[in-house]
């Protein structure tokens, strides 16, 4: 055997600098880790880490500050867009992102997110939609599908009693201040690549000062869905995507012309 000279080889793939090298606390099959990695890769590619401040939220997403190798503050439940606004208004040259789950962003924090989008707040929101409150043990969220069983909708979400899921992209894309609103899914490699491109465009929107950007990422929660990881991605594809259509809901003309 001849030892290979690694120094001569081109690095084509590596652990992102913006992602901390550590053991994950997320459950097997959870896609939070995938989302973290995509954000980290985009921060690396755009060389933004040194001037980015993250705003963590409440729920499983709270520990995003442990995984992303950037400065972070941690907001009260639902208030991340307001806190991000405070950071951005005093540090307008910095990049500010929130990382929020569905209960956080579109239930308890619905007021803050709509207001931030309406203002055209120049921040980027990474929105993880896994159709339940994960950290508290899988209760019904605003995004829980009709008929879906959770620990607080044991007979399935009854829309007569609990109403319908809130469609965040559809809602926020009606706001004039929103410049980039897209929904992607993390259930397979192709969609993960598309999700990364959307995250890139969201940050490109902010870097250009174009206003509010948000990427919704349909995500799995095998533990609280009571499924194996493999079954969970299949369930996401078959059940969630029809209800939450993937696509670009709003793209600023400058961004739609951008090649990344």
């Amino acid at each position: 055997m001849v030892a290979m000279d690694l120094s001569e080889m081109e690095v084509v793939y590596q652990h992102p600098h913006a992602l901390v090298d550590m053991y994950t606390h997320f459950c097997p099959g959870c896609t939070h880790g995938v989302a973290h990695r995509l954000v980290a890769e985009v921060l690396d590619e755009m060389a933004l880490s040194e001037r980015t401040i993250g705003v963590a939220s409440v729920g499983c997403s709270v520990f995003s500050y442990n995984y992303l190798n950037i400065d972070f503050v941690q907001a009260p439940h639902g208030r991340a867009p307001a806190m991000a606004t405070g950071v951005k208004r005093v540090l307008p040259d910095h990049i500010v992102m929130t990382y929020q789950g569905d209960g956080d962003m579109i239930s308890i924090g619905a007021g803050e997110i709509v207001a931030a989008a309406g203002r055209g707040e120049n921040i980027t929101v990474i929105f993880i939609n896994n159709a339940n409150y994960g950290m508290t043990g899988g209760q019904m969220a605003p995004t829980t599908l009709p008929g879906m069983k959770t620990s607080s909708s044991p007979n399935g979400r009854d829309v007569e009693q609990a109403g319908y899921p809130i469609l965040a992209c559809e809602l926020l894309s009606t706001q004039q201040g929103a410049s980039y609103i897209a929904r992607r899914s993390l259930h397979d490699p192709k969609n993960i690549r598309m999700a990364k491109k959307a995250i890139r465009l969201a940050f490109e929107t902010q870097v250009r000062g174009l206003g509010f950007s948000m990427v919704e990422l349909l995500s799995t929660c095998p533990t609280n869905w009571h499924m194996t990881p493999v079954k969970a991605v299949k369930w996401l594809e078959e059940k969630m995507i029809p209800y939450y259509p993937l696509g670009d809901y709003k793209v600023h003309p400058t961004i739609s012309e951008l090649k990344v």
Binding site: H17, A18, S49, E50, R51, T52, I53, V55, A56, V62, Y65, N69, I70, D71, F72, V73, Q74, A75, P76, R79, A82, M83, A84, T85, G86, V87, K88, R89, V90, L91, H94, I95, G111, E112, V114, A115
Partner: protein
């Protein structure tokens, strides 16, 4: 600088600007709205951050975010808005980032009235938000004091990485009187060591209030209390009038203290040996001054524009040998000097010591004043 006529709300807003305010976030609510309006023009004119938030929840969390960057930041609101801000205040206290809140207090509970009150004493002085934390709380009795205290409290908040609150009775916010503005300070250039600014690796900073390991949380809790001991040691403020030979001490803060001073002066002219202690720092509370006064006088009359919230703090350190009385008006009603004078005269003419709580005795007396 010469004395000028200033409305209280605009005066404290300008004082904050001169103290080097870098960002203001607020929401309209009577009787503090003039501060928001004033700063909506003044801050952009100086190239500083101003934003009218979507709610008090939004405002306090914008303050939280800005405070995490080490900026001098303030919000102002009135009682129902303060209730909404309690969540944020608890988080901010746990994260130990400095900020200033001016609470222009109105009558409550509920939507209450828009007239002046001191009904926020408990929610500001004794918490209001969850968990163990303390705010530094100052209470002005004039527009000038409001100016001076706002100007000073940023330094206190930063010194202790704490929340500074000005508990401003609606009266002071709405009244116009002469005040002298302090000089304009430079905006701070240096960023505090703990503040987020963008950093990775060993320069990465995380400002959070969550500590899932209870042992870590207890360490933070204990450290916060230890820090508070320093505040208690260094930052107690109060003022005394005619206390040298007093046998009756009136205790009142803010507007109630100011009105009581008129009553005390009239009583002195009538030959009654009465003095006034006006706590300025409500938190830390001037317990020692009250204790010393109690050793000197026979009677203490606590006057407030609430049902005796500070009364409980006074009674904590007053022994049974000193008779404690209470007089309060509520719901946006302010006491007239004559009402307090009557109380002083009643006490001076000899009251029977009683085991009944001062609040209960006051409530009984109020039956003849108000039909309730």
């Amino acid at each position: 600088m010469a004395r000028e006529l200033w409305k209280g709300n605009e005066a404290f807003a300008e004082a904050a600007v001169r103290a080097g305010l870098q960002a203001y976030f607020g929401y309209p609510i009577t009787p503090q709205t003039e501060a928001l309006e004033y700063l909506s023009a003044r801050m952009p004119e100086l190239g500083r951050a101003f934003l009218q938030a979507e709610s008090e929840l939004g405002a306090i969390n914008m303050v939280y975010g800005a405070a995490c960057t080490g900026a001098r930041v303030m919000t102002s609101t009135s009682s129902p808005g303060t209730s909404l801000m309690m969540e944020g205040l608890s988080y901010i206290a746990a994260t130990e980032v400095p900020m200033v809140l001016v609470d222009v207090v109105r009558g409550g509970p509920g939507l209450g009235t828009i007239q002046p009150s001191q009904g926020d004493y408990n929610q500001i002085v004794h918490g209001g938000g969850h968990g163990d934390y303390h705010c530094i709380v100052l209470a002005p009795s004039t527009v000038q004091e409001a100016v001076d205290q706002v100007y000073e409290i940023f330094d206190l908040a930063e010194k202790y990485r704490s929340i500074g609150v000005i508990l401003l009775d609606g009266t002071i916010g709405q009244m116009i009187e002469p005040a002298e503005m302090p000089p304009m300070r430079e905006i701070r250039k240096e960023i505090p060591e703990w503040a987020v600014r963008g950093g990775t690796g060993s320069n990465k900073r995380v400002l959070t209030s969550v500590h899932l390991v209870p042992e870590d949380m207890e360490v933070l809790d204990l450290r916060l209390i230890k820090k508070w001991q320093e505040v208690e040691k260094n930052e107690v403020r109060f003022t005394e009038y005619y206390m040298d030979d007093a046998k009756i001490a009136v205790v009142g803060f803010g507007t109630a203290g100011r009105i009581a001073l008129s009553a005390v002066r009239t009583a002195r002219a009538l030959g009654i040996p009465v003095g006034l202690i006006r706590p300025i720092s409500l938190s830390p509370f001037p317990y020692q001054a009250i204790k010393e006064a109690a050793a000197q006088v026979d009677h203490i009359l606590v006057v407030e524009m609430n049902s005796g919230m500070m009364l409980e703090d006074v009674m904590k350190v007053v022994k049974d040998s000193t008779n404690v009385e209470f007089y309060g008006r509520m719901g946006g009603i302010m006491p007239f000097p004559d009402e307090i004078l009557s109380e002083i005269q009643r006490i001076a003419s000899g009251t029977t010591p009683s085991d009944i709580h001062p609040r209960d005795r006051w409530l009984k007396r109020m039956e003849s004043v108000v039909d309730f």
